[in-house]
Amino acid sequence: MHILLNTLYLMTPRTLVRLDHETVKIEVEGELKMQIPLHHLGSIVCFGDVTLTTPLIMRCAEDKRLIVFHDQHGRFKARVEGPVSGNVFLRHAQHEALSDSKKTTAIARNIVAGKIRNTRQVVLRGAREADNEDDRKALQETARELAHGLDALSRSPDLEQIRGIEGNAARHYFATLDRMVRVNREAFKITHRNRRPPLDRMNALLSYIYALLLNDCLSAAEGVGLDPQIGYLHVLRSGRPALALDLMEEFRAILADRLALTLVNRRQIDERDFVERPGGAVHINDNARKEIAIAYQKRKQEEVLHPVLNRKVPLGLVPHIQARLLARVLRGDAEEYLPFMYR
């Protein structure tokens, strides 16, 4: 069984990272800060002004350790990939499924079903924990809308409709997301999802955590030998990791959104952690970024019951398991893609 390898997040400006024998040496302005054996690392994620030496980059590419570069605001810039490998038959099956509308639709439908169901779990939990009747009612209403979405989904024959149902569910969900914010609600108001750039604090927080989650879904897809750009729910677009985005859908609410809410509700993050830029863009400051990355890593280590495998696994491993289940479906070893159902 795959073990959950650690991710090294580098956010300190003027960091130099070198390969030293079988270890990674991290220096900040000439001072050695950490030395980590390579075998602990599954990926290295850099933010802003971080330098990796060429021998290290080549070694990681060779070992299939993911390297990702983001700018200082957390926006994805580049990813280092070694030569294409993995199973060519699997990738071929993946491409073939793309032209088989029945297969594509079935996969997309189950992904959206998993997403809406998990989102609904989060909303229902919010409703149970709500401090006042107003919030509870609003959240219960959203849960009802999501249930309608699930119902419509089972009857929808085509991909466009499925995408429509997904969009609709998301709109309802984000409209009442801040009802689950229990402290400092004025500062974390959100009415709808916006990005590039995010225009409020909650959207900035979500965008950042989604970027971390996307990296994990990318490495999950690549780890199984799937082409991360061939997706079914997401439309193909040059440079877009459509499959990783597909995989991510089931986890957005339970991993990312829930984490964002917890950070706000426990006051680990507050309005001082954000800066507003001319034009309305909202950014998270460096300290908060670190705090969030640590919280995200901790969340990934929490164990959950995987209903298909019927065993407990760290939450961070679930994208890898889902990628494997998807690969089975594409190969024809399994009938249907079963999304991850939280609790």
Binding site: I3, N6, T7, L8, Y9, L10, M11, T12, T15, D20, H21, E22, T23, I26, V28, K33, M34, Q35, I36, P37, L38, H39, H40, L41, K290, A293, I294, Y296, Q297, K298
Partner: protein, 96 residues
């Protein structure tokens, strides 16, 4: 598994000094230094065999000593630290 490696390498000769550096480097490749010739490593079975093999290649069994202990897990629960400790838990979130 979590293991503890300790060694004594005879450094009377130049060759001995070289062996000492080599042993330390191999240990660094698999874990971290907790005291001068003491390393803690978290490895799987395959890595453990590799580690042992590489260490045995470095040392001179006539003059050096090498001891490997398997630690009870979870390590966090059974290892107590006092004094100056600059160790990093490689399984905890790594953010710098």
């Amino acid at each position: 598994m979590y293991i503890l490696i300790t060694y004594d390498v005879s450094t009377e000769t130049e060759a001995g000094k070289k062996r000492l550096r080599k042993v330390a480097q191999v240990c660094k490749d698999f874990g971290q230094r907790v005291q001068k010739s003491v390393f803690e490593c978290s490895v799987n079975e395959a890595q453990f065999e590799q580690l042992k093999h590489r260490l045995l290649q470095c040392i001179d069994e006539k003059s050096d000593s090498l001891r490997i202990y398997r630690l009870r897990e979870p390590a966090k629960k059974y290892i107590q630290e006092y004094g100056v400790n600059l160790t990093i838990d490689f399984d905890a979130p790594l953010v710098l």
